[in-house]
Symmetry: C2
Subunit: 368 residues, 2 copies
């Protein structure tokens, strides 16, 4: 991106502003800051919590290891959680383990991916997964089926991979074409190879105390891994999960609860979600709404994990769009103690966790 | 119980007092009330929420159908949710359905109960279940095994019931003797006959949007049934579940979320749980701590479902003890808009829901 930091900053602040503040959008940055400092009310501030943006009090202590400081204006102070770096660390560790495993028991973990149809984004994901597998030494098996394939064909391939001892993980790329029953197809994957962790039996075990899931879904697992690697204490903390999807929000809430956080789940039916997020020491947001979580929604010192990857129009970008999270980064980074960026936060962790689950499966198969 | 209402009231208020207020315990009722009205602080009041006990503002509207008014002093105003009556209504509906089913397809639902060991409380539960089955027309099958039976023996009986077409529900009475692996035994029950709903596959489906559990665990199902039958709106409401057990707290939270409540789960690691419960429109408490939830923990107008059944010493009772809930009824009934008593609240609902699950299973087997 060619824009200067100041220009980019203005653009991003613009993104976070609600439609009613169009006039304010056009103010140059220094003017906006003047407003913040001179008044405790304004379009970006909540009268119930007027000092969230202008004060930096109550920051929680936070380990600085592996932390890259945000290159923001002087107002920004949240540490940026570097998902790209952590994902690389995880992949390096996996590669080392696989190499050792190969040497000692001559086993190479295998991951099968089934792609149906010709969605560009899905094809990109699958390509990235394949590359990531190769880089760490996981053998990848790929099946690409036409959009008009039948459910039976997909099930036939799943059945083949279920029985194939070289394959330790099976992943069906979602979404499937609308004529297929996603539930039937996902349920066909043997639970021992369900590296996505989406099987209800896995989810049930995740929910239950004293039970262990075979696999934890990759994205929420990646969120928790980021918290662990940045030494964010979870036990006894208030955590709010924004979104209750089967893939991220719900399992993230279950994982946080397993770690003894006190969890609240906010969703589309929640009235005044900001009153709840404002109590959180940790927020995980996974709703797919660009910049929905504003600075005023956040308790000073909170840690923010932003799972959203939302394309927004951007004429200055050669692709005509760029990616933003569910959280308004500019506002949040002035209030939070740590925050994941988008892109480069949770995103890279998902594939790293998929590799981790595949390795885990291979190790379990051979009691290694 | 022979005590006069006033004496009982005093006793119950005493129960709710923390140990440090032993002196206050001995005060006659009117004196305690004087203290409440004269001061906004005191052992039973929280300075952050000083008016919860002395004001009756903000009560939510609440359907009065099937509601019996609490026979308390003038201060009490919460409607008492009559679990005994609702459970009887449910049982009557089940009996009518079973009678119809028998007439039309000649099928009688069957419930098998396996009891291991000679715990008195378990024997009582099993006896009550048997009686309840008989009353609605469910055929009950009972196996009583010695405390020193092997896991294999229990599994053999489960296997037999799994294959028996007359049996539509199998229930293993918990707790099992310590030499048995509870998980192995519960997992052996065919999911189609798991009327307890404790199988991880059921719990997983309960957690997932777009999936349906075969059975919902009986006690949390009973809690939600009480809310439904008393026309308590759940959608969009703040709900707090106190406790996160596999049997009650966790599935209750999942059920509330399925009904579009915004749910928070409070547990033993939660700091200042009262700050969270005070935000709740609905509280379900299932921790097994007598009178833990005080009046000051409750938002005026909230609806309270008290799952706890805790024996406390009571020299005036011929048995030497009596049962109280997790919630201090006397304090709570002055703040809440509706509350379940203990006993006579959630308790009778559990068996009613077990019968309901057994009927459901039989209907499903025959596509009835």
């Amino acid at each position: 991106m060619a824009s200067s930091p100041v220009t980019m900053m203005k653009m991003k602040v613009n993104d976070c502003s609600p439609p009613s503040t169009t006039a304010a959008r056009l103010l140059p940055l220094f003017r906006r800051h003047q407003i913040h400092f001179r008044s405790s009310v304004g379009p970006l501030q909540n009268p119930c919590f007027p000092r969230t943006i202008i004060t930096h009090a109550s920051r929680s202590s936070f380990s600085s290891s592996s932390v890259i400081t945000a290159s923001m204006t002087t107002e920004a102070s949240a540490k940026v959680i570097d998902g790209k770096k952590i994902a690389k660390d995880v992949r390096d560790e996996i590669a080392a383990e696989i190499s050792l495993m190969k040497d000692s028991i001559s086993v190479v973990p295998g991951l099968a991916v089934i792609l149906v149809g010709d969605r560009k984004d899905s094809a990109t994901y699958v390509r990235n997964k394949k590359k990531a597998c190769e880089a760490v030494g996981i053998k990848s098996y790929e099946v690409c089926l036409r959009e008009d394939s039948t459910e039976e064909e997909v099930l036939k391939y799943i059945s083949g991979f279920n029985d194939d001892p070289m394959v330790h993980g099976i992943l069906v790329q979602l979404p499937l074409p609308s004529h297929m029953n996603e539930q039937n197809i996902l349920n066909a994957v043997r639970i021992e190879k369900d590296v996505d962790g989406f099987h209800p039996l896995n989810i049930g075990r995740l929910a239950m105390r004293g039970r262990e899931p075979l696999f934890v879904p990759c994205t929420p697992k990646g969120c928790i891994e980021l918290l662990h690697r940045y030494n964010v204490e979870i036990k006894g903390k208030r955590a709010v999960v924004v979104g209750r999807s089967n893939i991220v929000g719900m399992p993230a809430a279950l994982l946080l609860q397993r770690e003894d956080a006190t969890v609240s789940i906010v969703h589309s039916r929640t009235k005044k979600p900001e009153e709840i997020t404002r109590q959180a020491d940790i927020i995980i947001s996974a709703v797919g709404q660009p910049n929905m979580v504003r600075g005023s929604w956040i308790k000073p010192g909170a840690v923010i994990i932003d799972v959203g990857i939302n394309p927004v129009e951007d004429a200055t970008n050669p692709r005509g769009y760029r990616l933003v999270g569910d959280v308004c980064f500019e506002e949040a980074s002035k209030v939070a103690s740590a925050i994941t960026p988008v892109p480069g936060g949770v995103g890279p962790m998902t594939i790293a966790m998929l590799l981790s689950n595949t390795l885990l499966s291979a190790k379990r198969t051979y009691n290694y």
